[in-house]
Point group: C2
Chain length 380, copies 2
């Protein structure tokens, strides 16, 4: 039985921002929300308790990676992905479409599905819409995604249109394969940067009917203004009573901007990947921890942050760990960056509730980016 | 004020094993004890809470590494090593003697001290006995070690004797430099594999007078039987009312064997380094987690283990993380191996208290190593 539901509790008066709650059998998710990415059945460098502690209510996992290694059948036989990785809260699984698209020459898209070679050992595989759902069900996903075809930017209209139609046919096959499943199923709107095709994508998907709707194929190389335009014009077309999920975007400023356009859910590797590269988020922008200026800096990364790392360690210590290539640097940096993202969403939700989202947004943009500017000033 | 003290509470009747307690201003250490190694101001891959959770009462830190990076002056100005790494329990610091010995051609030993080049950037440095103590005091060490000269094996008697005499002169200078310090100071017995030189080393050091005594220069390439012989003959010569510390040894079987010879304290990188290489300790020996036989093994690493890893994760999951080169593999494996070592010491202490150390030891040796034998059997 699909026990998924979505309730909206508040709306911002001046923007499209919404404050809601997704209910699943594994717990509630307050929206707008950010989902940390756990590619291989682990959010890199963190134990599950750290994720709970920093306030993550849902994580994203990658069907493509888990299908290849260790295999969805194995995970299923061991009790599902939640048990495997000791995570009791909801998991959203993507369908593998984007990862397979990223394989380039190693994949071939046909009407029946995608033929591809493993990036690990070159072995041959076939992923159909039905198989994508089967894999996600075997993992025990709480929110599954349809298999979609991702396309490059730029791409001529004729090809985008043909691809969109295939994506819609695949979405219908996914919906059918999903019949009777426990978890929810989201559709993915494609259509490149052509707004009328995006509109058609929305209409066709809504006709099929999904528990939520995602915007896919964005942040694939297009100018940011164009991405914002597409989101701004497409999001309002989506059913207002279903969650709207912007896939793979983005930076902190994107989260604030896109919540204002009516987006409820986000995921992105930026906070975790930046953490491993020593880039730490603060309300004033990104801090490059390896800089010599932090050598003897006894302050926490962000004095307004309540994360485990900021409560216990100085910039000087984090710099030392990073310079010494210590594994602990990855863990402490990741905890901080994810808490920054999760707390940003908490503040956004509170601002919507209290009718102060516009001021919050203005404050955010007036401060964010200042840290990097300070660094540049000091170095010139 | 030096607030260090050592109390013995029980003795095994059939061996030299002792059950004691070290008291420091930062907390008590039950002996026999194992000290996890935290080279760069972190026990690799663990947050301090994990160390507390697995029962570590003291950790070891490396003077040589912290002196070079980030520098003891920096750590001191930030409030000392405990605050820097957020560890409130005792820290033993080695003097750097062994690390500098390991530099080979990059060092030159003179009467006044050691000239050496940094393994990081090739810069020139000088470490004297006085400087070694100064650095350890700046770090805020609870137990400091004298600077000693380490020697290779084998080495002709004449050279060992000359080196031992220098080590004794350095120990006297360390004792003088340590005057008025807050932490304790341990002497280090050298003398190579010559038992009469070891005896002379003990006598000369005891005449100087230290809070505890370490056996150094062992496990440097000599046959294990010879190492055991030297420990077995030297340990009883040490003052029975002071802690006896065997430096850099060893494997689980070494811990059990050397406790029986009267050793109270151990440190070694084996549990942490093996963890990062996917070698996990169990009561039946080392388990090689990457082996295909663990692919779908739903059991914990060791069914009798109470560590965080064994309570929450299967061998199949740990194998998956290791094969996918996930950072979390390092953390979970390290937690398990350190808990194995710490729990082994807990069991040893209980056995001494209850007068069952002999049986415990017999049981241990009858089981330990069986896991590896099973693996070999299955693979042939």
């Amino acid at each position: 039985m699909n026990t998924f539901s979505f309730t909206l509790m508040a709306y911002d008066r001046e923007t499209e921002a919404r404050r809601g709650k997704i209910q699943t059998r594994r717990g509630d998710i307050q929206t707008p929300t950010f989902m940390p990415v756990g590619t291989h059945g682990t959010v890199k460098a963190l134990i599950p308790e750290m994720l709970v502690d920093l306030g993550a209510e849902i994580i994203l996992s990658n069907t493509y990676h888990l299908y290849l290694r260790p295999g969805h059948g194995l995970i299923n036989s061991l009790g599902g992905l939640h048990k495997f990785m000791n995570w009791t809260r909801p998991i959203l699984t993507d369908s593998g479409g984007f990862q397979i698209y990223s394989l380039g020459d190693l994949r071939s898209v046909k009407e029946e599905g995608v033929y591809f070679r493993s990036h690990i050992d070159g072995s041959s595989h076939f992923l159909s819409p039905e198989k994508a759902i089967e894999v996600q069900m075997a993992l025990g996903s709480d929110i599954m995604m349809v298999l979609d075809e991702c396309i490059p930017y730029p791409l001529e209209r004729r090809k985008v249109e043909a691809s969109l139609e295939k994506t819609i046919r695949w979405a219908k096959r996914c919906k059918k394969a999903h019949d009777g499943a426990t978890g929810a199923l989201f559709g993915i709107v494609q259509g490149g940067m052509y707004k009328d095709l995006r509109k058609k994508g929305v209409e066709d998907l809504v006709e099929v009917g999904f528990d939520g709707y995602a915007l896919g194929g964005l942040s694939v190389g297009e100018p940011k203004e164009l991405m914002y335009e597409v989101i701004n014009e497409t999001a309002p077309l989506l059913p207002s009573d279903r969650p709207r999920y912007l896939m793979g975007v983005g930076k902190p400023e994107d989260l604030v901007a896109c919540v204002a356009m009516g987006i409820d859910m986000f995921d992105c590797v930026i906070p975790t990947r930046c953490a491993r590269n020593g880039l730490l988020f603060t309300k004033r922008g990104k801090l490059v921890i390896k800089h010599a200026r932090y050598r003897d800096d006894s302050r926490p990364v962000d004095e307004t942050c309540d994360c485990y790392t900021c409560r216990h360690f100085s910039r000087a210590y984090l710099r030392h760990l990073f310079m010494a290539k210590e594994i602990l640097a990855m863990t402490l940096n990741t905890v901080h960056n994810l808490r920054f993202y999760v707390r940003l969403m908490e503040m956004i939700r509170e601002a919507i509730e209290t009718g102060t989202f516009r001021e919050f947004s203005k404050d955010f943009f007036s401060q964010y980016g200042k840290e990097s500017m300070d660094e540049r000033r000091q170095e010139t």
